[in-house]
Symmetry: C2
Subunit: 399 residues, 2 copies
C-alpha cells in the first residue's frame, strides 16, 4: 500500500539517469510540475501578461497560497503561514517579534545542534536591538533543564542538520509554555520530512525552508508561522510594503496588515515562488504518517547495510528512529574525500565539516533498492580506498 | 546611430504582439536570454546537476556576478555591489548599518517623494533599534535646506515613483558629506534608466531593484552598494550565513566576510537570480549616455503629443528633462479608469493613487513610434470618454 503510493510520487520527479540522490535534505529534486510551471510563468505570465500578471496570474496571492499548502504539512491552521524571503530573514522577523513580546526577559536559549546560521541571526538581532539580550547556547541534551523563568525565547531547530538528532518538540514546547517562554522552531529539516504538529504543540513561531524536503528549487522562498493568537500583537521589524494593511494606497505611514500578511516584507521572487508552489502539488493526497513510516524503513535499511559493510564508519545519528529526522549521518576523518568519491560514483549525499557524511532519505523519490545500492557503492569506496585519490581531496567553493 | 542601437536591443526582448508597453518602470519586459537561461537552470542545473550545481553551475558566485554587472550601470567600483534579497530588506541592512556608524546623531532625513515603502522600513528600523532615532520627512524641495549637523542619515529615492521628479544626487550628497551626514540612495527608478555615478557622487550606500529597468523578472532580487571604504566598518544586522567569512566551516559564532559579501544574508532564490543575471546581458556594449538621450527623446515626444491631444490631463512630471527620470506622469481624477481603458486597448502603463497615470519609457524596447501611438490611444480614451465604462472602474487586488 505505502510502497505503491511512493511508486507513483517518484514518477512526479525528474531524476538524472543512474543517480541515487540522497541529498534531498539540502536541495530537493526537480518536480516535473515545477519545470512546467516555471516555463509558463516566464513565457505566459511575464512575457505576455507582463505587469497585469499580478492580477491575472495570481502573483499577488502566491505567498498566501504557498503558505496554505505548507501549513497542511506542519499542522498549522489556515492563515498562519506565509511564504517569504529566506529562512534567515524570517528568523530575524520571528526573533525580534518574540523578544519584543517577551518584555524584560533577556535570554535567548538555543543549543549547539542548531544551525550556526540561526545563531548568527540571533547575534545580529541582539546587536541591532541593543537592549542587553543574551544568547545562551547549551548542549542539545541540556536544553530541557535550561528552560526556566529567566528565558525570553527558546530558539531551536527541531532536527540537527549534521547528525539528524530530533528534538521532542511537544515536550520542550510544553515546558517552555509552563515557564512563560516563547518558542521559535526552525523546521528546515522537518517540513516535508515527517509529521509536524505546530498547533498541537502550541508553538509560537516557526520558520523553515522551501528548497529541502519541500523540493521548491534552489534558494526557494522560505516560510514563517505565527500562532494565530499572536499575529495581531506583534510589531514587524522588517516592515515592508507588502506587510502593510493597504499596500496599494501608498500611505506615508506604516500600518501592519491584520493577519499573517504582516510577516511579508518586500516583493517576492515570483519565479522561485511559483516553482515552490508547483512543487507542493506533489503532496496532494499524501499523508505525512505514510512518509514517516517509509522514511524510517529507508533509514533503517541504510544503517543496517552500511554498518554490515563499512566497519570504519561510525554512526553519527541516533540509533532510535524516533529520535531521528529523515537523514542518516556517519563520521570518518576522511569524510570529505569519501563523499567526493561517492558523488563521482553517482551516489549523491553531502559533507559537513569537520567529519560528517550525510544522507537524506526522501520517500517521494528514494526507494529501498536505492538505499541498498548506495550502501554497496559506499562499501566499494571504503574497501578500495577510492577516497585516497587526489581528485577526491580537492575542495570546491561549496563544500 | 543611437536609433540603430535600440533597433537591435528591441530584438533581444519578447514583447506581446500589438502591445505598447510603458510599464518597464514597474516590471521590465522579458529578455529572450532570461527565458533561455531559466529553462537551462531548471532542466540542467537543478534537474540534472542537483546539489552539485552550486559548484558546477556557478550558483554560489551569482550574487557577486550580478552585482558586478549592475555596478557598471551605476558607477560603482568592482566589489562594491551585491545582489540579494528585496529592496526593502536591503534598505534595512543599509539603514541599520548607517545609523550604527552615525553614533549619537538621531535624525533620518527623507522626503514625501520617497517610496512609502522606504519610509515604512525606516519606521521598522527605528522601532527595532529602540534608540530614539527619529524620521524627519520634508517636501522634496526642502531636503537641501534640512541637511545639517543634526542629521545622521540622508535617505532618499533619486526618482519619485509617482511624478518622475529626479533629485540632484551629486549636489545633495556633497552637502551631506560636508555636514558629516551619511547617504543612502534608493536607485529603484534609476538603475538602467539613466547614468548614475555613485562613486563620483561619494554616496555611502545605495539599494535598488532588479525587476524594473533592469528587466530581471517579477520580484527579481535587489542589490545593495556600500562605499568600499565603509565595507569593513559596518556590522550587519541581518547576519546570515552567506555573509559569514567562512560559511561552509559552520562555526558557531558569526564573523562577517571581509567585503561586500557581508551584505548577503541567507540563500538567494537562484531561479530568479539567474533570470536577472541573463537579463543584464542586454546591456553589453550599451552606454548609459545613449540610453539617457533616447529616453529624453521618447518622453519629450510623449509629453508633446499628449498635451496637444488631451487638454484635461495635467502633467505631473517636471517639464525640464534634466529634472526627470525615465517616466512621464499625468494627473486626472479619473486616472484609475483611464489607465484601465488604456490597458484594454493594449497601451500598458499603470496607476498610482490617488490620481496619477504613469508611463515608463525604456529605450531598450520602446520606440518613438510607440510614444506617438500611445498618445493617439490615450486621445481616443479621453475624447470618447471610454473610461466611464463600468468595466474600467472595477479595481483588482493590485491597482
Amino acid at each position: 500500500m505505502t510502497a505503491s503510493i511512493f511508486d507513483k510520487t517518484r514518477t512526479l520527479f525528474d531524476l538524472p539517469e543512474g543517480v541515487i540522490y540522497l541529498d534531498g535534505n539540502s536541495l530537493g529534486a526537480l518536480p516535473r510540475a515545477a519545470r512546467e510551471r516555471v516555463a509558463r510563468e516566464v513565457n505566459h505570465s511575464w512575457g505576455h501578461e507582463l505587469i497585469r500578471a499580478w492580477n491575472t496570474c495570481g502573483w499577488i496571492d502566491l505567498p498566501a497560497e504557498v503558505g496554505r499548502k505548507i501549513g497542511r504539512l506542519i499542522g498549522a491552521p489556515e492563515g498562519s503561514v506565509i511564504a517569504a524571503d529566506s529562512t534567515s530573514i524570517n528568523l530575524f522577523k520571528a526573533l525580534t517579534a518574540a523578544l519584543r513580546l517577551a518584555g524584560e526577559r533577556k535570554v535567548i536559549l538555543s543549543d549547539t545542534g542548531n544551525f550556526p546560521s540561526d545563531l548568527y541571526i540571533a547575534e545580529g538581532v541582539i546587536e541591532t536591538m541593543g537592549q542587553g539580550h543574551r544568547l545562551k547556547v547549551v548542549a542539545p541534551d541540556d536544553v530541557e533543564a535550561a528552560i526556566g523563568d529567566d528565558v525570553a525565547v527558546l530558539m531551536l531547530t527541531e532536527v540537527d542538520y549534521a547528525t539528524g538528532r530530533k528534538h521532542d518538540m511537544k515536550a520542550l514546547t510544553a515546558k517552555a509554555r509552563a515557564h512563560g517562554v516563547l518558542t521559535i522552531w526552525d523546521l528546515a529539516h522537518s517540513a516535508g520530512a515527517f509529521p509536524v504538529d505546530l498547533h498541537g504543540a502550541g508553538a509560537d513561531f516557526a520558520i523553515g525552508c522551501g528548497y529541502k524536503y519541500l523540493n521548491g528549487g534552489p534558494g526557494a522562498p522560505a516560510f514563517i508561522y505565527v500562532r494565530p493568537e499572536l499575529q495581531e500583537k506583534i510589531t514587524p521589524s522588517l516592515s515592508g510594503w507588502l506587510g502593510h494593511d493597504a499596500p496599494f494606497q501608498f500611505e506615508l505611514g506604516y500600518r501592519p496588515a491584520g493577519s499573517i500578511d504582516r510577516m511579508r516584507a518586500g516583493t517576492p521572487p515570483v519565479l522561485s515562488m511559483a516553482a515552490l508552489d508547483a512543487a507542493l502539488s506533489v503532496w496532494d493526497g499524501i499523508e505525512m504518517a505514510d512518509v514517516r513510516a517509509r522514511s524510517i524503513e529507508l533509514c533503517e535499511i541504510f544503517i543496517r547495510e552500511v554498518e554490515a559493510r563499512c566497519p570504519t564508519l561510525t554512526l553519527a545519528s541516533p540509533r532510535n528512529p524516533e529520535q531521528r529526522g529523515s537523514q542518516v549521518s556517519f563520521r570518518h576523518e576522511q569524510g570529505f574525500a569519501i563523499m567526493q568519491a561517492l558523488i563521482a560514483h553517482l551516489v549523491i549525499g553531502d559533507f559537513r565539516a569537520p567529519n560528517i557524511i550525510r544522507f537524506g532519505f526522501t520517500p517521494l523519490y528514494v526507494t529501498p533498492a536505492d538505499a541498498v545500492k548506495a550502501a554497496e557503492v559506499l562499501e566499494r569506496v571504503m574497501k578500495e580506498r577510492l577516497y585516497e585519490k587526489p581528485e577526491y581531496q580537492k575542495k570546491g567553493k561549496v563544500t
